[in-house]
Symmetry: C2
Subunit: 135 residues, 2 copies
């Protein structure tokens, strides 16, 4: 197991996912990056547990006129066995505010990824929150 290679693969997976997420038009491909038992914690909303619930959550988000998410990852850390890892980064979410005007929020994102055997990296935990610079 080449840890540096796995680290690069994880960062590439995440970059592919970010591209798909920002386009927002291929929901099944977007969903394929989460584990079946993944949990997402959107700020201000209930936890979203499991792929079926995440599908509904993502469909609803992508259906909001003006919704767009982008993210970049600054840092990847893996367990020595290359089976568990986490990414630290930042995201930007644009969506209508209460008055209908588009609001842009900047957040800090933590994702935790698992890899079974020689399989692909999949995201098991997804949480973010806004910092002091949220606008």
């Amino acid at each position: 197991m080449d840890l540096e290679r796995e680290r690069r693969r994880l960062l590439e997976r995440d970059a592919e996912w970010a591209l798909l997420g920002s386009r927002g038009d291929e929901i099944e491909r977007i969903l394929s990056y989460w584990t079946e038992d993944a949990v997402v914690y959107p700020p201000g909303l209930p936890a979203v547990s499991g792929k079926a619930a995440i599908r509904s959550y993502v469909q609803a988000a992508l259906a909001v006129p003006g919704f767009r998410i982008t993210w970049t990852t600054a840092n990847a850390t893996l367990s020595p066995d290359g089976r568990l890892g986490y990414l630290l980064g930042g995201n930007t979410i644009q969506q209508p505010g209460v008055d209908g005007e588009l609001v842009t929020a900047h957040g800090r994102a933590v994702t935790i990824w698992r890899r079974e055997g020689d399989g692909e990296w999949e995201c098991a935990v997804d949480i973010w929150n806004g910092g002091a610079t949220a606008t």
Copy 2:
């Protein structure tokens, strides 16, 4: 390496830390649970990176009259090699609101822990946010 034993040790460490955190009177012991390079993402505040910055952040929080944090952990997941793990749980933070009255906020917490060799588990990443039930 006994993975189930390490899982129990991690949960015990976290429970000890939660007890110290809720008491809030032994700052060096509280700080000893984070790695030197840990990062904390408090909602609405800048990221807090590294032990020195975390010391200042924790000192400031504990100095706020009425401040109290408690947390419980529902779930622990470890890498197969027992060197990286993460905990999912919930926290409750009580502190004065803008009008000075104590406000209680409930959050979902994700912590990521590392263990070097046969050392203790230490927390490297600490993030939480409020859910729909925050009051």
